[in-house]
């Protein structure tokens, strides 16, 4: 049986893991054809330098727009506190880390500061843990939706387009310029943001996070540093070097699987090495030469499957990989020394390193040949997800918009990102908020808990500062950030093939949903069979023909249409 760390260590580890996982839940985009909108290579700390990395430039060239950093206006466009106050109700998910301290978020200091500054009272309605979707659907059906719905688009079939068509969400196009002028300011000034935050016909149905700063992605290949040192090996980079590492693990560490891939066999970063990849969160669409493509449809997919099958037969891949449920479990397998390599979460692994006493290091994204470029880094899109919608039957639409708008002003975004003014942060001389010593001290709460108590890490839509300056943990302990950002300056990596968040009509969404369920069921089964050898790779051509007959071409057609409409907006 595995040896168990003492209880408090495990509890701390678990808490940190869940805190970190949740903190990145704010990074996901809307359900209709997403790519995550977190950042790309350069890890500068100031907003001004956002547009200079090559990744940015390559994708920018592909999509055809000018990279731009939008500074705050000298004066906020709306005045606070508002004249006629009132109360709005907010439906918002409260995660387990936060609910340890606050039953209702109205007690959180950030919220109290917001109420004081805006003059608008709020009441929160939190869905019970694990029942977010059901709770939302219940509210929809019983016609009792609160005014503001935070990140609920994913729970309504067809997203916000369908929700507005069905009369559940409000169309905000007319109201935003008047009641949320600071948010509208960013829409007007940043064309890419406008394209990402509006629907095909330029309507505003949700308010999104705005992020001007890039940050490195948090999934990298993780190797055991102590073993590399023992064997005098460099950190593997090309696939041949990976195999050498695996061979060593097989030889020197019996019973330990050299590599644990994700449970469906689709390792985003490896697919990226073959030029057909998505990222670890399963995105499989990418844009190359102006056309939307899908991993399954590409000829190079056969090379990927051949490689994985070869690795499986040689024993490099753990035979139980289909049973490891999630990336958290994968991180733990690696941290517990039961596998030699995972594509894991850098922040989690870094935390676990001190808890569980092992040494790990990140590697660069893998390539077939050393001089190959890598085009599948997360691209910096200014729309950072977290769609907030307003109920169509709400009587307080204007108030809700005014409330949200405050988080897009300079002072308001300081509150929304950093917490209580003067207590947890102060405005720096260059207009960028800085944490106070109290916030960084970890005195009243542990550093990871502070993200949810002293400030509000996951919350409503706001102008979002980069994780490196707005997360207490990263500022107080810069090593975590350094671990994550180690390879961020890699010039050969860019997000040139990334696909922006697209908006679909209700009918298109329904059609895509139906076709992709069938395609995914079939493909996931066949992929695992190819990898484990249950199906011979000679059947690959037949596999692709079947995928096409299940409707892949139609799906790509719909995506292409949406993509072209996006560019033309």
């Amino acid at each position: 049986m595995k040896k168990r760390a003492p209880f408090w260590k495990r509890a701390l580890g678990l808490l940190t893991v869940s805190a970190l996982i949740v903190s990145f839940s704010g990074c996901t985009g809307s359900p209709s054809g997403t790519s995550t909108s977190s950042m790309s290579t350069s890890s500068q700390k100031t907003p001004e330098s956002g547009g200079t990395s090559s990744a940015f430039a390559n994708t920018a060239e592909a999509i055809g727009f000018e990279p731009i950093i939008v500074p705050f206006p000298d004066e906020p466009l709306a005045s606070y506190p508002v004249e006629n106050g009132g109360t709005i109700s907010i439906w918002m998910y409260i995660n387990s880390a936060t609910s340890k301290y606050y039953q209702n978020l109205v007690e959180n200091p950030t919220v109290k500061q917001m109420i004081k500054d805006t003059g608008i009272n709020v009441e929160f309605i939190h869905p019970p843990t694990g029942q977010t979707k059901e709770n939302f659907n219940l509210l929809v059906v019983s016609d009792s939706l609160p005014d503001l719905l935070v990140n609920a688009n994913q729970y309504y079939a067809g997203g916000n387009v369908a929700a507005v068509a069905d009369g559940v969400f409000a169309d905000l196009t007319e109201l935003v310029p008047e009641y949320a002028p600071d948010y509208y300011y960013f829409i007007e000034k940043n064309e890419l943001f406008r394209k990402l935050a509006t629907t095909t016909d330029n309507k505003i149905y949700s308010i999104y996070n705005y992020k001007d700063v890039q940050a490195p992605y948090f999934i990298y290949p993780q190797f055991r540093e102590d073993w590399l040192k023992e064997w005098n090996m460099e950190i593997p980079f090309t696939l041949d070097e990976y195999e050498a590492y695996f061979e060593k693990v097989l030889a020197e560490k019996p019973g330990i699987a050299p590599y644990l891939p994700s449970k469906n066999g689709l390792e985003g970063e490896l697919l990226g090495a073959f030029g057909i990849g998505g990222t670890s969160n399963g995105v499989r669409y990418f844009v190359k030469d102006g056309k939307v493509r899908h991993t399954f449809n590409e000829p190079a997919f056969k090379d990927y499957l051949t490689l994985m099958n070869d690795w499986y037969n040689k024993g490099y891949i753990s035979k139980d990989f289909t049973n490891v449920e999630s990336i958290d479990a994968m991180n733990l397998e690696f941290a517990n020394g039961r596998t030699g390599m995972v594509f894991g979460n850098t922040d989690t692994i870094f935390t676990l390193m001190s808890e569980l006493d092992f040494e790990a290091t990140t590697g660069r994204y893998p390539r077939i040949n050393a001089e190959d470029p890598y085009h599948f880094d997360i691209f910096y899109f200014p729309q950072n997800g977290n769609p907030n919608a307003i109920s169509a039957k709400s009587k307080n639409k204007e108030l809700a918009l005014q409330f949200l708008n405050y988080s897009f002003t300079q002072q308001g975004s300081g509150v929304a990102n950093f917490g209580e003014t003067g207590v947890t942060w102060n405005m720096g001389d260059d207009g960028i908020p800085v944490f106070t010593d109290y916030a960084l001290s970890g005195k009243d709460y542990s550093l990871s808990d502070s993200e949810y108590t002293l400030r509000l890490h996951t919350c409503w839509a706001k102008y979002r500062y980069g994780d490196d300056i707005s997360m207490i943990r990263n500022v107080a302990e810069p090593d975590t950030w350094k671990y994550r950002a180690r390879w961020a300056d890699d010039e050969t990596v860019d997000g040139a093939y990334a696909m922006p968040t697209l908006s679909f009509t209700t009918e298109a969404s329904a059609e895509i949903g139906k076709l992709t369920t069938d395609i995914n069921t079939y493909a996931e089964e066949m992929i695992l069979k190819f990898i484990t050898g249950a199906a011979s790779l000679d059947q690959f051509d037949e596999f692709q023909k079947n995928v096409q007959s299940l409707g892949m071409d139609r799906v790509l057609e719909l995506y292409q249409q949406a993509y072209e409409q996006f560019l033309a907006k």
Partner: protein, 313 residues
């Protein structure tokens, strides 16, 4: 004196009903909440079946959603993946019927033969402990034991075979699924039969012993016939749920490697529903299942009545 041809006339039905009500009013009063419960939670919601004929969207409600006719039914029946799930559901149910149904009966018969009360009670208690363990915990255990370096594989290696990811092996999956189900339910299921057996007439046994019947003959001629009525009823009810194998266990144990034999109607609809949040589709499949189940139930009941004289109605 001529026999009067008229029978004494029965009072009209409404009068008889009224008298019955008054005479047994406390019984009716006790039964009232239960009847209301079934009315409110089982019959009234049946109106919701209407969404299986619509393209239901929560925002539009029952009256506002578009009419879709038989679209979802046809979609389900013509989808190649879906027909595979129907086959899997029936096959797994058949396995559970053939292996899982007799198991509690056999256990009950065996326990009945035990003489030492302490031993009997201990065995009984141990046998129905798994019933109380949550399904999620059990599936976690199964996954752990079936992993390549888990307990099952250690036994397999001991017997001379190679290690394998058991839950990923298409041929072994159903065995593990059904086998673990039997292990979990055997103890609890045997309680019903043991209770029936404890009501068996001891005089019959004595008479059989006098006639020279051995233990085996006693069991076949006395014990078994005592159980048969209950067993038939249980069987009929089992058949009446052939199409509705629950999704939880499947979802916890399966992986795309074994979809071919593991994917059930419920897990397929779960994935479909999660992707599209298509309530109408789920309702349509549910309705389809219920109709099939009802047909099977009525047929099984008829068959049982004809074959053995026992039936539910």
């Amino acid at each position: 004196m001529t026999l009067t041809a008229e029978k004494k006339e029965k009072a009209p039905f409404s009068n008889r009903l009224k008298r019955n009500f008054i005479k047994h009013r406390s019984l009716y009063l006790i039964a009232l909440p239960i009847a209301l419960f079934y009315l409110l939670f089982k019959y009234v919601p049946m109106f919701g079946i209407v969404i299986s004929f619509q393209d239901y969207r929560p925002g539009k409600g029952f009256w506002g959603s578009d009419f879709a006719g038989l679209k979802h039914f046809i979609d389900f029946l013509t989808n190649p993946t879906a027909s595979r799930t129907i086959r899997n559901t029936l096959v797994i149910n058949l396995y559970q019927l053939i292996f899982g149904f007799p198991a509690p009966i056999i256990l009950a018969l065996l326990l009945n033969e035990l003489k030492l009360p302490l031993f009997k009670k201990t065995v009984q208690t141990i046998s129905y402990m798994p019933h109380f363990i949550s399904l999620v915990v059990i599936c976690g255990m199964i996954k752990d034991f079936s992993s390549t370096y888990g307990v099952f594989n250690d036994v397999i290696t001991f017997l001379g075979f190679e290690r394998d990811n058991l839950l990923g092996n298409v041929d072994l999956y159903r065995g593990i699924y059904v086998g673990s189900g039997i292990w979990k339910g055997i103890g609890w299921g045997s309680i019903l039969y043991l209770a029936t057996l404890s009501g068996a007439d001891p005089n019959l046994y004595e008479a059989a012993v006098i006639d020279g019947a051995g233990r085996w003959k006693q069991m076949v001629h006395i014990t078994l016939p005592t159980i048969i009525p209950i067993a038939i009823l249980q069987l009929i009810m089992r058949i009446g749920s052939m199409m509705s194998e629950g999704a939880e266990k499947t979802i916890l144990l399966y992986s795309p490697l074994v979809y071919e034999k593991a994917d059930l109607i419920s897990s397929f609809v779960y994935r479909r529903g999660l992707q599209e949040m298509n309530f109408s589709y789920g309702a349509a499949v549910g309705l389809f299942n219920s109709v099939i189940n009802l047909t099977l139930l009525v047929a099984a009941n008829r068959l049982a009545r004809k074959a053995t004289g026992e039936s539910m109605w």
